[in-house]
Amino acid sequence: MKVAITSSGPTLQSNVDPRFGRCPYYIIYDTEDGSFKAVENKSNLAAGGAGIQAGQNISDMKVEAVITGNVGPNAFRVLSAAFIKIYSGASGSVKDAIEKLKKGEYRETAGPDVGSHFGMGR
């Protein structure tokens, strides 16, 4: 399955970025063959609704799970509707996050972690 990890840079060594909607990159990792690609987050250009656009983009990429720091209420709504599993509270490197996922150390997030506008101003 494809997993999207919010990332501050385009490599596996980059750190997990805490913001789902306004992170600079997503690392799309395929658990079947271990391949990955870095995708620039286009929703960063959005004046508003970055989390929504990000959710839409992730869903359109047929991703099945997301690993991130925080998910706001709008993004949460979109991802849930798309039945995408959300693992939030992640930190450290993208590589570490993937290892943790493989070992089953993440639990699914039940609701948004932060109020709206969390990514704004940070």
Binding site: G48, I52, Q53, S59
Partner: protein, 286 residues
Amino acid sequence: MEKSRKLIISVASGKGGTGKTTIAVNLALSLSNVQLIDCDVEEPDCHIFIKPVIESRHTIFIPVPVVNQNKCDGCGRCQEVCLYNAIAVVNKEVIIFPELCHGCGSCTYFCPHKAIEEEKKEIGIVEIGKSGETQFVHGKLNVGMMMSPPVIRAVKKHINKKKTAIIDAPPGTSCPVITAIKDTDFVILVTEPTPFGLNDLILAAEVVRKMRLPFGVIINRSDLGNKKTDEYCARENIPVLMRIPFSKKIAEIYSRGDLIIKVLPEYNKEFQELYKKIEQVKVNPT
């Protein structure tokens, strides 16, 4: 210019705190057959000074789309035409985010199945009233709402063409200001003769020029600062309509929400002169 239509004068400033509201309020109350229109819907202040009796209140709504699930087939066309990211379509389910919606109507129009209708979302109020003979209108954007222009447009709908209208615009040079001063006959830019004031006056003048509106400047606290603002206005051929020196008395009158023209009646004539000057400049633009 048709003599029968009265002037709509807007009072703006690049920088906040230069005396916009003071000018708007005192100018309005020095005239007869006048309306005072407070378009600073984020922080409306005019009512503090004229203490109007409110006669009616209208809730302002913006149209937000609602999807009729029976008619929707999840085609995603609505999401394609929404440039504000107010719509997501995942798993053929349409999710709408009203706080991002600008009410443009695109999604409703382009839905191939006519599955979208517009519902009303409350964003603020408009209040209409009177203070003596002066008619008064203001708008208040609800705290937490993000868009002023729809409330400002709703306020301006109450402009009575048979009365002189004085509009107190929001400070700054972005969208809300544009909406407030658009289609007015003359813009007064209020400034202070300091580097902050001049910096922001230059921006405001650029906006007003782009909108092709006649304008002039009032220099408030005119003795506290330097000559650069005067020099700028002279260079740019911008009429300086009035200069008000700093006065602790005026500051004190303002601070308790009182009117300068009431406490210092000599200012009544000054503001009436201001109005006459504006009429002149409007007829003979430089």
